[in-house]
Amino acid sequence: MRWWLPVQASSFAPEIDGLFTAILIITGLAFFLVEGSMIWFLIKYRARPGRKATYTHGNVKVEYVWTAFPAVVVIALGLTSNHYWKQIKGRDSVPPNSYPIKVHAKQFEWLFTYPGPDGKLGTDDDITEVRNKLHVPVNRPIVLEEESEDVIHSVFVPAFRLKQDAVPGMHIRAWFIATRPGEYDLGCAELCGMGHYKMHAKVTVQSQAEFDAWLAKAAQGDIE
Amino acid sequence: MTHGAAVAMRPPFPAERGMNVYNHKLAMYAFLASEVMFFGALIGAYIILRLGAPGEWVKRGAVLNISVTAFNTFLLVTSSLWMALAHRAIARGNQKMLRTWLGLTIVFGAAFVTIQALEYIHLMDRGLLASGVRDGSELAGLVANGTLPATITLYGACFYTLTGFHGFHVTCGVLSMTYLFFTKALRGKYSQQDYRGIEVVGLYWHFVDVVWIILFTIIYLI
């Protein structure tokens, strides 16, 4: 069991983990400062006979400080996350030469369609309806063309820090670059009915050669 | 009920004057705020559905009868005018004119609801349902030969939901005005010092009238 985020297997995983760590440091500091001083207050100012509390209604200057300081911190946090957000999910963030794979989400399984040798989806040489198996070449931008047949599902690959809902009636694109060969889990992150827990697909990141070989075999219909 | 002008139409005991609005009127303002949010949600949904609809929206007047509804709108607007006159009458202590104007408001309001109901029946005969178009109806034919777009299913749903809820609110208004008319106005319960019932129901009525003007514009006219 890992006590930290999963393995970083995609291009923007380190950036997201970096932001996560930064927020953890900020919130950790705030946590220890506040809870620590609270415990200190509880001990130092506990009721003792004959003692009377200080009569004060507050201090405006201190209010300004602890309004401005958190405001500056959160705005800075906001701007940095917006920077990464535009890179990862922005309108034109999908790398130009991405390899398209169609993800057809339906109640309780994922059907992937690969573009086949011509590299374009929608042509008749596509390898269609591969069930619960997403093979991707390593270090190459991939764009998932997500669509859903019935309810809202959500492609979620923890190792890639990738999550994107598939909404019926909408075509949504989610891109990533797999950087670490291996086998990872893909699950559904949006409640989609009784089989929501069973929508488990395998993501296999392989070298370009292995990927082409697998794709050729898949074209013949014997998918292993 | 009547304790002297200073008392009835003033909030009971404001330590520091919040709003010089007596309880019933303040509650009605708050209630109308919640109604604004309710109709806002429905109208917002209508706008989003209409802008995002696949294919173009049903043309103006293609299904709905604008001239009858324009007359209907005229009825509701004038009934709002009668209500204002009723309010002015009782503000001057004129019980008789209160009864006439309030009666006129009720009649015009009831007429609006009846015409709207007849319009519903007529539309349903022609085939416009909340779930879309009834097969084999006149409208189904029009959709088949392309004069009406397929988005008529959304059109019917939005039309019936928005105008239906507005009709429901108008009916509640007419019923409460009728109740006040017989139990309070006819028995002279209202006086120049205390006519809160009229003022509160008048607020509601003007609100319902404004909502209709918005609905009439965005559903019928655009």
């Binding site: 339906k106 109640q107 399984e109 059907l111 069930r131 619960n132 089989g195 069973k198 488990h200 292993e224 | -």
Partner: protein, 241 residues
């Protein structure tokens, strides 16, 4: 909740029993209709099913499993054709309540049987012998659709309330799992087997229209008149397209 369903079935059963005592005695003594379902043209090649995701099911196969939409037998006949009496039964006819439930087994991520019939009110016991999660969605139109799940080895009883020829069954977790059940008010139906033949027996005398239904090639009907205990044949031929 489902107790209501059960009570309905029991009441139906008791009601029918009351009648059976008065109606014909053992149904088997009536006439019989048999025949074979011929198949012409080239048999379509059924696509392979990728079960690598479910090792429990994959392990139960030697050769890679294929889809079962069209099963053409070696002797040129068509299996999985549902043949039943569409009309012609006397109005007063009342079916004897079937005692034994019909077993629908989910084994090796497949429905066994692929096509089958059931009486109205008869219990269909859905068995999950794979031990992995299946869900069974019956998309009835006249019958109330149901959608239940079986996350492990278990059996769930269900009944159908109205006659409906071919209620589609499917498992949403395994998209290739398809099944068809014909719900009839009488027991006169059969499914063509490995030799493409079918046999409907125990028919009271009369003129019947028999319908042969196949999930891909549609339906064909034939009219047969039977009397006493004779056996008549009805032939159906489906062409590949």
């Amino acid at each position: 909740m489902r107790k209501l369903g059960m009570v309905g079935a029991l009441a139906g059963g008791l009601f029918a029993l009351g009648f059976a005592g008065r109606g014909e005695h053992a149904a088997q003594a009536g006439a019989t209709i048999t025949g074979t379902i011929k198949f012409t043209g080239t048999a379509p090649v059924m696509a392979k099913i990728d079960m690598s995701d479910e090792p429990v099911c994959k392990g139960k196969y030697t050769a890679p499993p294929t889809k079962e939409d069209v099963v053409v037998n070696p002797n040129g006949t068509l299996a999985n054709v549902f043949v039943y009496v569409k009309s012609g039964l006397p109005a007063t006819y009342k079916a004897a309540a079937a005692a034994a439930p019909v077993l629908l087994d989910q084994n090796a991520c497949r429905y066994h049987p692929h096509v089958f019939g059931i009486l109205v009110g008869q219990t269909m016991s859905i068995k999950n012998s794979d031990g992995i999660a299946h869900n069974i969605k019956a998309k009835g139109v006249k019958n109330r659709p149901f959608n239940i799940s079986q996350p492990m080895a278990m059996t769930s009883p269900r009944t159908f309330t109205t006659p409906e020829v071919m209620v589609p069954l499917e498992c949403n977790v395994h998209g290739w799992m398809k099944g068809w059940v014909g719900v009839l008010p009488h027991p006169f139906f059969a499914v063509s087997g490995a030799d493409g033949s079918f046999k409907i027996s125990g028919l009271p005398p009369g003129t019947y229209t028999i319908e042969a239904w196949h999930e891909k090639y549609g339906t064909q009907t034939a009219t047969v008149t039977v009397a006493g205990t004779e056996t008549k044949t009805a032939a159906f031929t489906f062409a590949a397209h």
